[in-house]
Symmetry: C2
Subunit: 336 residues, 2 copies
């Protein structure tokens, strides 16, 4: 091995840390409980201790080039701070990046977790043959990340890539962002469970109702399992996921005409249940997609919409990649 | 003056040609009838004659650096051909660019007309202080253009920037593209007239009905004039324009977080009638816009949504600009 970077993925449940060398070889992966409820300083101290232990272990093999940290929420890339994060309330307006740089004396890049996942899939996953890519992460919410010319697109204030808040149904379900009918309200794990409850309330499924009696088991995965067994209401829930994705991704194809759109996150494992409706809707919503779909022009020239490949490691690998990218554009203010 | 370029804007009614020098000084502007019905060869011959007359006139003052031609429709930037254009049916699959280069012995760039307009506004209009920009052209249809890092973004097959086909109402009015509820169905001049007819059919306005008796006078402009006079149904039509724009532009802000979004084309002259509803809707649809609106963070740091400045000359200036841009990226295939 040679020099290496460390990627950190701070999720709601786990704090995961990986050392990856520049040939993309995983040296070691650690998983700790995130314990964000114990506060910012506790989490940062645990993170720094774990990073120090990795650095000590690998110091004879190569240099630590830097650390990338993926966190949920809006990031101010210039200041290296979390601007807003529902999961990390006490991280707001605190100089996280500078504090960790000070403690560890190495370059630190703070990044949105969905952007990190996009970078991971671009580096080692479904997008590795492409310079431009959009990624959708279907988890508790729906995150997104855009890569143009090999770099993450941050936009003017670092907030770009909020693809989960594309409007798909103007008068649709209220969203936590304040709007209605955002993609997140139809394609997240939370939305799958809500849509299943709505089907139960309409009296459409005794199977779903039985499942819902065990609160802990009533998850997007168990609803998917019912769909796979052919239960009509559960199938319909995932068709709704596919339709909403088709509308959202279709508009993106019309706007950006990118070569690849990658769908990741936990809900993407229900691909076979939602993808047919998604592709059908995309052909309807986007004449560009209809003209350039792989079944029309071939996979080599077509617009690719595909599953992510790295699973839950995408964000971890992507975060580790960030310090390797020299000339990494922090923010595109775009003003002269 | 020094060296200069020639811009061509081929519209449904007029063929307009301008010689512009690299200091952005307009040397001369010609307007000819487009007469596209007389066929491709007729139009190209007229265009080449006019360009030759300008070149003869200015040959002592500087060199002709190249010609940019904006045409409606999908353009294959690599082949220099019109792939599909409802207005120019016999231009399809014909090597327009190479033919004009052969006849005039100078560099020719063929470009989509809405992209040319975006480049014009970026060079000399509302976007001149910005490196990244989106432009919406509200005309007979709704066109769009995206500029990243000072260059037009073409996407994989040159089709990017179809912002008129952003989905705003999933079950909305059928669109010529095959989908339903595209922005174009609510924010174009055609849509304004249709929505006014719908109001008449619902018996909502005797004023609009009177106006509609004179078919030639029943235009988006005359409906706007009624709205300005306070006629409720006409006002409502433009509020619908604003709401649809707010949904479409709001989703774009969430995706791209650009510093500026420029609204041009004929319908943009009804700005005061649709802009209040548009801004209200944008704050509702996009928490990024709500956080970065100029009334919150100031004009200097805010997300700007504004009227185009060059009127119908945007496309002409933009087309003339194209040959001046060295290293102009023709198409982003984005495959390695």
């Amino acid at each position: 091995m040679g020099d290496y970077c460390i990627g950190v993925d701070l999720g709601g449940t786990n704090l995961r840390i990986a050392a990856v060398d520049s040939d993309s070889k995983l040296l070691e992966k650690l998983t700790l409980g995130a314990e964000v409820s114990r506060g910012r300083d506790f989490v940062i101290t645990e993170m720094c201790k774990a990073i120090e232990s990795l650095r000590t272990k690998y110091q004879s093999s190569g240099a630590l080039l830097g650390i990338g940290i993926g966190v949920p929420g809006f990031i101010d890339m210039v200041a290296g701070m979390v601007m807003d994060s529902p999961n990390l309330p006490d991280w707001k307006s605190y100089p996280v990046r500078d504090e960790i740089e000070r403690r560890l004396s190495t370059k630190v890049i703070l990044e949105n977790d969905a952007n990190s996942a996009a970078m991971g899939e671009k580096w080692l996953g479904a997008g590795r043959q492409f310079e431009h890519m959009a990624m959708y992460t279907l988890g508790t919410g729906v995150g997104g990340g855009l890569i143009f010319n090999g770099s993450l697109w941050h936009g003017m204030t670092g907030m770009a890539g909020e693809l989960g808040h594309f409007n798909v149904y103007a008068d649709g379900h209220p969203c936590g962002c304040g709007s209605r009918g955002c993609l997140e309200q139809y394609a997240s794990a939370t939305a799958v469970v809500r849509m299943a409850r709505e089907a139960i309330a309409r009296g459409e499924s005794t199977e779903l109702e039985k499942l819902s009696h065990d609160e802990g088991q009533f998850t997007s995965r168990s609803i998917y399992n019912l769909a796979v067994q052919g239960e009509p209401a559960a199938k319909k829930v995932f068709e709704n996921v596919g339709r909403a994705l088709g509308i959202g991704v279709g508009s993106m194809v019309n706007a950006l005409n990118l070569p690849i759109y990658v769908i990741g996150g936990g809900v993407s494992s229900a691909w076979d249940a939602f993808a047919p409706a998604m592709f059908e809707e995309m052909k309807f919503r986007s004449s560009i997609y209809a003209l350039t779909s792989p079944d029309r022009v071939g996979h080599e020239k077509g617009t690719i919409v595909t599953r992510a490949m790295l699973g839950s490691d995408a964000g971890l690998y992507g975060a580790a990649r960030l310090p390797m990218l020299l000339g990494f554009s922090q923010t595109e203010t775009g003003r002269q």
